[in-house]
Amino acid sequence: MDSLDRRRTQPAQTNAEAPLRETASQTAGPYVHIGCLPNAADVRGIYSNDLTVNRILPNAPITISGKVFEGDNIICKDVMLEFWHADETGCYDNGIWHRSITNSTSGLFSINTQMPGKTKTGEGKWLAPFVSVWITARGINLGLLTRIYFPDHESVLHEDPHMNLIPESRRLTLMAKLVNGGYYFDIHLQGPNETVFFDV
């Protein structure tokens, strides 16, 4: 046994368990806004602005909005969503990232962004433009990854190499709708219209 004096200045052992495995996820909980978008949650004065990627979006601005539904078609009003997509040339070096929350009254989320370009698989096959979406909230133990595709590229439903990995009956859950000049995309966490979520 080390001396008491030594133990009072002892460095901690690591909490990490060998062999190293990814730290377990835990739910973001109902108060995720405090940490991730504090100004939007009325915790003002700590950060001058909520986190964003400062990038002036060039041409082709688009809006994407929608709602998130849990079982029984209940609108979720406490969800945080992150959006990540290639720039207009299909490049991720200056990829575009946004964070949004579902409105605490209406449940609507909304971002202003730009249409991403086409990208390629590792084998060099073209992929239709898409936006990756990562969803966290109370009751979601591990963040959910999905994608938004655009109806401008309808051939995506049958010709896209990644879309072809999804059961045909579920592909439409990833297709945004064009409504009043903006894109609209609902996310269903479960139920008959459950959105496709990915393991990458």
Binding site: A16, A28, C91, Y92, Q190
Partner: protein, 243 residues
């Protein structure tokens, strides 16, 4: 090393919580009926937003004072939380943004939906952030959050915890988790913690008292190391292409 051109190894779901865990009531209507659809990784997954260049505010990493009136500080046990951000191969993840949020010393969040009896602390906001250095080290100061009750159908109390949000180098490494404190008896009876079926994975969420880094007459230190998905060391057949 730039890992953005490499794939990440498959996620080890044995270390992750179950999506459907009815003892945590909110998962009942929010878990998925379908299996996740496996996709090969592309740059959409191996690249991600990076914030390493960000100018953080001077007190962003000090929750004791970052919401406090001038000369005041938050009420509670003053603590320092520090650790390393590594990937599964043990390599440090540098210049990574870590965001944290938590309840105050009495277990109350500064959030309009939290109506717990414990009062708000006028000098505590409950959020902060920091960047890892070149060796993956991070550090922030705060007060130890209180345990709090939550509506889950029973006598439910959350162990004292700090929420963490971590950006790695690729979007596939994105992680939100919670840090618990060594010795807290609530850990073993919390449905949110126990939705992780693997005792070693739970143990990895428990910060350790670190006397070497504690500051006499000032701060008690806790060590909390974080592990993100690592590069795939064996298979390169799905090597990402593109731009």
């Amino acid at each position: 090393m730039d890992r953005s051109k490499q794939n990440f190894s498959k996620r080890d779901y044995s270390a992750q919580p179950k999506a459907n865990y009815p003892d945590y009531r909110s998962t009942i209507l929010r878990h998925q009926g379908h299996k996740l659809v496996a996709l090969p990784q592309t740059l959409a997954d191996t690249k991600g937003p990076v914030f390493g260049h960000m100018d953080l505010g001077a007190n962003d990493d000090d929750l004791i004072i970052n919401y406090a009136s001038s000369g005041k500080s938050a009420i509670g046990e003053r603590i320092l939380v520090t650790g390393k951000l590594l990937d599964e191969t043990g390599a440090p993840v540098p210049n990574a943004l870590i965001e944290v949020w938590q309840a105050n010393g009495g277990g109350r969040y500064r959030h309009k939906n939290d109506g717990y009896l414990a009062p708000l602390d006028p000098n505590f906001g409950g959020c902060g952030r920091c960047l890892t250095d070149r060796e993956g080290n991070y550090v922030f100061r705060t007060i130890k959050p209180g345990a709090y009750p939550w509506p889950n159908g029973g006598n439910d109390w959350r162990p004292a915890h700090i929420h963490f949000s971590i950006f790695g180098q690729g979007f596939a490494q994105r992680l939100i988790t919670q840090m618990y404190f060594e010795g807290d008896p609530h850990i073993q009876i919390c449905p949110i913690v126990q939705s992780i079926g693997d005792a070693r994975a739970v143990n990895q969420l428990v910060a350790r008292l670190d006397m070497a880094q504690s500051v006499p007459m000032d701060l008690i230190a806790y060590r909390f190391d974080l592990i993100l998905r690592g590069p795939n060391s064996t298979v390169f057949e799905n090597k990402t292409g593109g731009h």
